[in-house]
């Protein structure tokens, strides 16, 4: 199984960390993974995006022009990446940040109101995990247990108390699609 994913939004929305947890989960399952960020000062305030590839086979290019899935968190990213989803691919977006919804008919579009739900659940800081949950419901490329192990590995120990909340967020995200 192979998934080529772009995650894009504003800096500070947890774009890079969502991608990192997904990549780490793949690593834990012995898959090949790449995590390629658009790095630089645009990470703060501007747009941030990361390309994550999870594959059973060795990965050629970490940089792509089209994607199996796009997870979109703001309008500029929608404008940039809607057209880059492969026909038949998946586009997940958070309704909160989007003023002009996607129009393509040849891809599967899912609106997930992660930010609204996160606000209600008092989980704003980990609303990215809700979107990750939605993604994994649609494309179960890694197991939830692997994601939890990945969280344990990537979060500093002092934040391990937050792992149950992350799990809750992922499960909520799975319900939302």
């Amino acid at each position: 199984m192979k998934q080529e994913i772009i995650i894009a939004g504003f800096g500070g929305q947890g774009v890079l960390s969502m991608g990192k947890i997904l990549a780490y989960s793949g690593l834990i399952e012995g898959k090949e993974v790449t995590w390629m960020p658009a790095y630089g000062p645009e990470q703060r305030g501007g747009t941030a995006n990361v390309t994550v590839i999870v594959n059973d086979e060795p990965i050629s290019s970490p940089i792509l022009s089209t994607y199996d899935t796009a997870i979109i968190l703001n309008q500029p990213s929608m404008e940039k990446f809607e057209s880059k989803v492969k026909p038949g691919g998946t586009l997940i977006y958070d309704g909160y940040g989007i003023s002009v919804p996607p129009t393509r008919k040849d891809i599967n579009v899912y609106r997930v109101d992660a930010m609204d739900v996160a606000a209600k659940m008092n989980l704003i800081k980990i609303f990215n995990m809700i979107l990750l949950g939605s993604y994994l419901k649609l494309h179960p490329i890694v197991k939830i247990e692997s994601v939890l192990s990945a969280l344990k590995k990537t979060l500093p120990e002092r934040h391990h108390g937050l792992i149950p909340q992350n799990e809750e967020a992922i499960k909520k995200g799975m319900e939302l699609v």
Partner: protein, 360 residues
């Protein structure tokens, strides 16, 4: 500590971890995007408390490379890292290191220029790395990793070659490989050499003259042109030996190829994707990836030109390595170049379009 560990990390982080694990004695560097994680990771890992490795943030790249010179002259395994503008500033020191025949490692996580340029990835430092950079007739051993795994592995290889030939070695990479996270199996730990071992293995080094030995003097200065010519001839013989013995390439899908892409580092990754896409359309194309940019794989490219009908040089620059390819091909077949500039990465589908132009 476990001998072998598989983990996910950035290329820059892999450089730092590999440096600690390969028994490096000292790192001297200065922050610059997109390579700062090397120094940051070393500072966070505190190897001075474990292996005894010295880590020092210098006041400039000029100072960093001269600290490397100072340390290398004593026989220690020392390194620095920077990105393009910082590497430009180091060129004086690199020329001195080559002139004094000192082993060391310089990592260039290059970015787009000229000038202050951009912080985005680029391969526009090929000329600087392979054709001089500093003054005088000298060569660097230049390795081009195309994965995070190779970032780690080539730290070992670079030091091995640097000490084998008493010559500075460079890892030429870019922001793609430096900033990307990938699976990496960290190479096994090698203990730092003891001072006794260094003195035995590097009898030329200036680290304190024991009674009975003549002073060791590390210098690149010789005012007598006749002697200086002799020194240069000796250097050229060494470079010829390196050219003969140390060329490294990777071949990918070349067995039945009618066309070839030649690409290094991150561009080789993009090339592989382009090859997968082109083959789906029935185009028989493969990749020759120079791993050593200097010594350049002259014979390998020459052999390739007798096998395929055309070569595309895919580079993230305006066409630098293509000059070496054309020299090796010597007019036998068409050689074209495709690259993006200023920090833009060519996409795999763009490479396929260029390949089709070559075939037409």
């Amino acid at each position: 500590m476990a001998e072998r560990e598989i983990t996910l990390m950035k290329g820059n982080e892999a450089i730092a971890h590999a440096a600690i694990r390969c028994g490096c004695d000292g790192y001297f560097g200065y922050p610059i995007t997109p390579q700062s994680e090397v120094l940051e990771t070393l500072a966070e890992q505190k190897p001075w408390e474990t292996t005894g490795m010295v880590v020092l943030q210098a006041e400039s790249e000029t100072s960093s490379i001269n600290m490397v010179y100072g340390g290398a002259a004593t026989g220690k395994k020392v390194m620095t890292s920077s990105s393009s503008p910082g590497i430009s500033l180091m060129q004086e020191g690199i020329s001195y290191l080559a002139g004094a025949e000192l082993p060391c490692l310089v990592v260039n996580v290059s970015r787009g220029g000229p000038g202050l340029g951009t912080i985005q990835p680029s391969q526009a430092d090929y000329f600087q790395s392979c054709k001089g950079g500093g003054h005088g007739d000298y060569r660097l051993i230049v390795l081009a990793p195309s994965s995070v795994q190779e970032m780690a592995d080539f730290v070992y290889l670079a030091f091995e070659l640097a000490f084998k030939y008493r010559n500075p070695a460079m890892i030429l990479t870019d922001g793609v490989i430096g900033q990307m996270m990938e699976k990496v199996e960290l190479p096994p730990f090698k203990a730092r050499r003891t001072e006794k071992e260094i003195i035995e293995q590097c009898p030329w080094a200036a680290n304190g003259r024991p009674a009975g030995r003549k002073p060791n003097i590390i210098t690149s200065l010789e005012l007598d042109p006749a002697v200086m010519e002799e020194i240069n001839i000796r250097l050229q013989k060494k470079y010829a030996q390196i050219q003969e013995n140390e060329v490294r390439v990777e071949e990918f899908m070349l067995e039945d190829a009618e066309y070839a892409i030649v690409a290094f580092g991150s561009a080789a990754r993009i090339a592989k994707k382009a090859i997968e896409m082109a083959r789906e359309e029935g185009i028989k194309v493969g990749l020759l990836r120079p791993i050593t940019l200097w010594p350049f794989p002259i014979k390998e490219v020459e052999a390739l030109s007798k096998k395929v009908k055309g070569i595309l040089s895919l580079e993230i620059n305006a066409g630098q390595m293509v000059e070496d390819i054309r020299l090796a091909v010597n007019g036998r077949i068409p050689v074209s170049h495709y690259g993006r500039l200023g920090g833009i990465i060519p996409a795999p589908d763009e490479a396929v379009v260029e390949l089709k132009k070559l075939i037409k």
